[in-house]
Symmetry: C2
Subunit: 339 residues, 2 copies
């Protein structure tokens, strides 16, 4: 019972009395090989506990078997969740994923993007969070890329994104229908420069309802939860809007802290709708009404389009927009006006 080294196609070949090439073909279920020998070899491999070496395989195939991903943040669960789903999908297809997070700095985002040309990956998944001016950089990669974010029709890369414009529009309309008048949008202003269409959806709904200067109703929270908290604390101690539309559930939790400190009640004093439908949004003191984005479908789409492109570089570029769904919970109420 000695510790023996793992079986390889050579040891199998020897045992089976055939060549290594035959074993290789048989294990890849190559139709060229006689069905009987094929089965026989497969059975024997199974029995010997044979495991393909991805390393050797990939080296031989001239690929790396890794896809590199750039995501915005480690703290917002939507991204770690998406990352986990991307991982799962990729692992199913025998790819591994090299994860990177830009966190809250444009410099870091650029740096990582540049470092991507040093890392050999078969393809890239990019969530731009500070700038959409990455084209030259991504072109230099010289490898398939899929962007998670809205792009113009002529963008040469695959892209999948969420219809935040429509989502924000619907959410705002809903608030208005509930009798809310003084509504503010809160979010990271920098996101607009890389295709965040929530503000524009908000503005469209507000102007459509005859409200003046909706642009002034947009408040920059900064990128992270702490800055959202601080901004909200300052803002809400001066102003008492009826309702808030918040860029993400994540930032909403920052705002909620400010609301709690100011002894305001949700939704009686202030209604809230946010975006994403992270698991936490359904828990905590007040379950949040939110615009849900599809997780599994999105992750699947991201890795599938990328892998198809990797395996066939001549495929046409695909741009795919996904819809949101409103999840009604307890953070919005009907506004009763007594005047």
């Amino acid at each position: 019972m000695k510790t023996q080294t793992n079986p390889t196609i050579y040891t199998l070949a020897e045992k089976a009395g055939v060549s290594a090439a035959t074993v290789s073909r048989a294990l890849n279920n190559d139709k060229l090989i006689n069905i009987k020998t094929r089965r026989q070899i497969q059975k024997m491999a199974e029995k010997e506990g044979y495991k393909k070496s991805p390393l050797a395989r990939n080296l031989s195939l001239g690929r790396t078997g890794v896809i590199a991903a750039l995501l915005p943040s480690i703290n917002n669960p939507i991204y770690t969740y998406l990352a986990a789903k991307i991982l799962e999908r990729a692992q199913e297809r025998n790819y591994s994923v090299f994860l990177n997070y830009s966190e809250d700095s444009m410099e870091r985002e650029k740096k990582i993007l540049n470092s991507f040309s040093n890392i050999q990956a078969d393809g890239f998944i990019i969530f731009p969070s500070f700038s959409d001016r990455h084209e030259k950089c991504l072109k230099k990669l010289n490898r398939p890329v899929v962007i998670r974010g809205s792009v113009s029709g002529k963008c040469p890369f695959n892209a999948v994104w969420i219809d935040f414009h429509k989502g924000a529009y619907e959410a705002t309309e809903y608030l208005i229908k509930q009798g809310q008048k003084n509504i503010r949008y809160m979010g990271f202003a920098g996101a607009v420069s890389c295709g965040d269409e929530r503000p524009s959806g908000f503005i469209k709904a507000m102007s459509g309802n005859g409200m003046k200067s909706p642009y002034k109703n947009i408040i920059d929270t900064g990128f992270n939860i702490e800055s959202a908290y601080r901004t909200a604390l300052k803002f809400l101690s001066q102003t008492k809007p009826d309702a808030l539309l918040i860029q993400s559930d994540y930032l909403a939790f920052g705002v909620l802290r400010a609301i709690g400190e100011l002894k305001l009640r949700v939704p009686e004093d202030i209604s809230i709708i946010s975006f994403d439908n992270i698991e936490f949004s359904n828990y905590g003191t007040i379950p949040l009404t939110t615009m849900s984005q599809p997780f599994d479908e999105q992750a699947k789409l991201l890795v599938n389009t990328l892998l198809s492109r990797i395996n066939n570089e001549t495929l046409p570029v695909v741009h795919k927009k996904l819809d949101m769904k409103m999840i009604l919970r307890s953070s919005v109420c009907k506004k009763i006006r007594n005047k």
Copy 2:
């Protein structure tokens, strides 16, 4: 300006008029190579945009360059955060990480563990969440393992864990000092079987203060946030304890929803301490007092001990216990008794 294939040690060797072996050595900064030629080759590699192929390197070195990890859950941010930190540390050392989540099923945990013997990895990081009876299974792996969880002194694997016992003890003592009397512990009972020492710390503190039958004060919430919510809703509509000690911030958010629905206030009606110090615990309507566990240090320790072991299998087994720190926030108050 044609698309040329990447430089290899061979193309470099040719250009430099030396052998490939020399290039390889120079790039590994091997002292054997004349310092001048070394620098020269390094410079040229830089200039030509040479990138080492990890595939070829690892194949040659007879390793895979991957470490496989089994974590409990994709939803509790503490694990995704820890995962991200583990990833970072591993990437620094040129290892990639194969992540797996057992989610809420013992079957899945077992299945993944078994599948680990099929995946060639250089080492394993295991967070047991349902059972600690994995020894035979882990032994079969025949590779270095580090366990994140408490183990007995004779456990043959590396392990690092958090001193939850002490943490729970201190948290409970603190509640008692604040005048809380009727205190309950809520958490996933199944965790005890794999070394969760929070309940025992809680019991020790409670009995030490002369409270009778502290065992009855332990409530099983199940594994996930939804079951924690349901359990709390049922429990709290019948009983009104002074304070709750909750196994994790994550589960606390489930409990908070129940508290919110029952129109109870934190901390006026009920005080709360939980564990982990995830980012969310500092936000939401009420910032949570929590027992913080070290993230960065933990991740570093996990991958460092594993990698040392991988590179030197004769190293002694290390068991390392990490301390918690109490983070005072707003979910606990002094209990004023009027009687």
